[in-house]
């Protein structure tokens, strides 16, 4: 089961990134255009969200009717319902980074296949940022 589990992760990521490439999410030009609401707005990425959420929201409930996933013992879906400062601050910082570089994690990683220094730099420093966040002591 573990092999199927791990290979599924590969397949999911592959399909996911094909979707990213087809949709324009891997193009900083499209991303900047989408965020450039007060300039030359390109609303294309709205349709990406619509397509993704449209499909997943419909199928989500169907999938959850099953007792368990195929290759894992149970579902492991986030259950938090609170809205805390970390959520908002984190999202704001992430959004700022997205607006500066034009990449979010998935597209950034997919783009390193181009071997271009820019997505490579982005991903390298994204990993650094993640490690810093993980090792930073929390304020209780």
């Amino acid at each position: 089961m573990k092999i199927a589990h791990d290979l599924s992760a590969f397949l999911v990521a592959f399909l996911f990134a094909l979707g990213l490439a087809l949709s324009g999410m891997t193009s900083p030009a499209r991303v900047f255009g989408f965020l450039d609401v007060f300039g030359h707005w390109d609303p294309s990425l709205l349709f990406v969200m619509a397509g993704a959420v449209g499909v997943h929201s419909l199928l989500y409930r169907l999938v959850r009717r099953r007792e368990r996933p195929f290759f894992s013992l149970q579902f492991d879906v986030p259950t938090r319902r609170d809205i805390d400062r970390r959520l908002v601050i984190g999202a704001a910082l992430f959004g700022a980074g997205w607006g500066i570089g034009g990449y979010c994690p998935g597209p950034g990683l997919a783009s390193i296949a181009t071997l271009d220094r820019r997505p490579l730099l982005f991903v390298l420093f994204m990993l650094v940022g993640m490690v810093i966040a993980k090792w930073m002591p929390r304020r209780t």
Binding site: V12, P28, D36, V48, R64, F75, G90, A110
Partner: protein
């Protein structure tokens, strides 16, 4: 044409995250999956690495079949990419998610938490681009 490929690409993303749920019972939140490699536990590494390999592999295929997918790499100056990376890496861990985790998976579950996160990061992105426009002589190219 752009809107159609955006919609279909989005649909493919939706299918992929659904498959993740069906197969492995997990949310396909890229930031969470990758960040998990920073503090890995036994048995937890291989699937995460394979996920990353999957992303990059599809990227490689896209270079061949749709190179226009990557247009715009030169728009941000080189020094901006490390800053962007740090903010995205740090922010997604603190905020527990990114566009796939909160924006697609969370919103599809009608999670208020994810909705707030999504509105916040999109808003921050819009504000950031607006500020960059204001302070850059030529604006964004």
């Amino acid at each position: 044409m752009n809107y159609l490929s955006a919609l279909i690409g989005g649909g493919l993303i939706g299918l992929a995250v659904t498959l993740m749920l069906m197969a492995n019972g997990r949310v396909a939140g890229v930031s969470g999956i990758v960040a998990g490699l920073a503090t890995p536990s036994r048995g937890d590494i291989r699937w995460r690495l394979l996920f990353v390999v999957g992303l990059v592999s599809a990227g490689a295929l896209a270079i061949i079949v749709k190179p226009s997918a990557f247009v715009g790499m030169s728009m941000a100056p080189d020094w901006a990419l490390p800053v962007a990376g740090l903010l995205v890496g740090f922010g997604t861990v603190i905020g527990n998610g990114c566009t796939s985790g909160h924006g697609v998976c969370g919103i599809s579950r009608f999670s208020t938490r994810s909705l707030i996160a999504t509105v916040t990061f999109i808003g921050a992105g819009i504000a950031t681009v607006a500020v960059i426009r204001l302070i850059t002589p030529g604006g964004i190219s």
